[in-house]
Amino acid sequence: MLVLEYAISGLLFGATYSLVAIGFTLIFGVLNRFNIAHGATLMVAAFGGATISILFGGKDSYIILIVAFLSATIIGAIVGLIVRQIAFAPLKGGSELSPFVTSAAMALILEELFVNLTQSVSIYSMEVTEFPSPLENLVFFLGEIYIRGAYLVIFFMALIIMGILHWWLHHTKSGLAIRCVEENPTAAWLMGINGNRVEIIVFAVASAIAGAAGCLISVAYGTVTPFLGSNLLLVSFVVLVLAGIGSVRGAMICGLFVGVIETVTAGLISAQTKEAVLFIILFTVLLVKPQGIFATNATERD
């Protein structure tokens, strides 16, 4: 019974990991670079949503919640583009190390910025910046099993977002362009696809999704902290490896899977063990099937 409850929570909450991983994998698939600032983007967007909720009394209003959610998504996109402009655009080509470092530095800057903001701005509190929402205390009891309303909402929102993304990637021209660049950037360029524009679109979309995820996660926790992003980033690494980089569908399923493992382990044993378990899984998968379980025909890219 206990395990079932944990499994359900994990499944629902795992949808957020799916969202974060999807954003991450989109950027990696197109740019072949890791965006370490992805987590920070998510955090900034979450703060944006929280601010809206705090300022306009989101505690009891679903409408404000929706507004906050949309704002978070847009803020996510904007921050993502800024990150791209500062950390990736000036570094065309060159070693793999540089964009890793610049995006990590961006993440650091954003984190510190918000640590400062939470100290100086009065609506934020240093430790507990709230994200008030009517979903806070919504719970359902299925017999003995306890399910949080917030998690249900997360799950369905995530499904909707992934559905939209899937439709866009496979049924629109821009989506097609993105898939082309992902598969073979040189050929895509030769075919007249503007790689730069594709990059911008991907960054915007991926970061918008991150923003949405950030908002959902903060609503579930009830609070936002400047370190929200970095905690999530590591878990999304695990999802990414399991799924195989480049596979959106894989990211979705593996996100749920990781969510379940995480909650069940944390619930039955301890929070620390769950971290160890996840990383051991990551390591094993890398040894056994490095392309990931859902690998697309990934040509080796460097």
Partner: protein, 409 residues
Amino acid sequence: MKSMFNNCINLARSKMLGLTVATGVALLSTSSVMAFQDEGTIRIGMLETITGGAAPYGLAGARGTLLAIEEVNATGGIEINGKKSKIVVVGGGELGSDGGLDPALAIAGLKKLVLDDHVLMVKGPTTSTNSEAIFNYLNELSNQGSGLVVHSSSAGAPGLGEISKWGFRNSFAESYALSFLVENMVKHTGAKTAAIYHLTDNPYFPVMAELMTKELAKLGVEVKAVATGLSKDAEFSRQVKEIKSVNPDIVYLATDNLRGIGFMKEAFRRRLQPSVFIGGISQLVPDTINSGGEATAGMVMISSYDDKGVGINAYRAKFKARWDEDINLFSVNGYEAGQLLVKALQNSGIENTKESLASDRAKLRDAYETVKIDSISGYSVEFNDVHDTPKSGVILTIKDNAFQAWEAN
């Protein structure tokens, strides 16, 4: 060995030379402008934790002390040898240097204040962890002839005062007041069982959990479940479930601010409803009420002062005017620390010159041993023989969105 040693230095030098010269110049120009003990200012240092997880406590304490200092400066300062000298916080910003959370860095910060900035005493640190490291280090400093008073207003772990004769605390040490709190709660609820949730990565909380277990045992109450967690947890289902499953009459929380709130919210959602939730001083911050909302209503904890007291209200107005924030236990203790410091300075008979630094530091320490003030909390406060300031405490509860005096009715 020596030539290898020299080679090592030369090698390092040749690599570092250019860079070091450049940065060395930059560093020298940004370090303390006041080269030595001026006559006309009394130099003290502050080493509270003003960034990171313990920042709410450190900032509140630093601000409270600074307020007291500013008040005495407004009257001209402390009279020394017939001349008035103002107290100045040196090293760092307005609130002094950042003690941080890492004891090694705190010791480095202390070294700088003591040896480079030549301060008379240091206010801080904020956390018990830092205080333990620093009080231990004080003994070494003392052997080198550089002993000075280090005065914390928030480190609460038991036994800190016994480490060094230079360390002083006016924190509200919960351990002194715990039996008072527990007796009242057990009597009021007729409790027979209890459960505890505490963090394991900060020495203070496991100690409090142990103390609580002992106090409860004295009254025949059995602790049936102990759930643990870390300072970075964001999820509390496991702990709430564990505790709920033993259906306790009393639930005691030995956690920091954020974890306490998170736990209470989860408990609210899962309908964990003991006769009473008992918290600690870490819960005595506005966040607990603002964020906790209905989840934390009715929670009980012990504080050092009665919120309705006259002195407290006057202080509240002053603090709000200066810092635009409400007061809490930490800012009250910080102000009290400032009061103690000022009085001790007045009684110390220091010379306050460059040459008398060592003897001034010793004189201040002696003054600290015997100083006594009327705190804004309404009590008379002085240090006992282990350099603590025992206070019996006031039981508070969260009612109508505020911390109010608890009444048994």
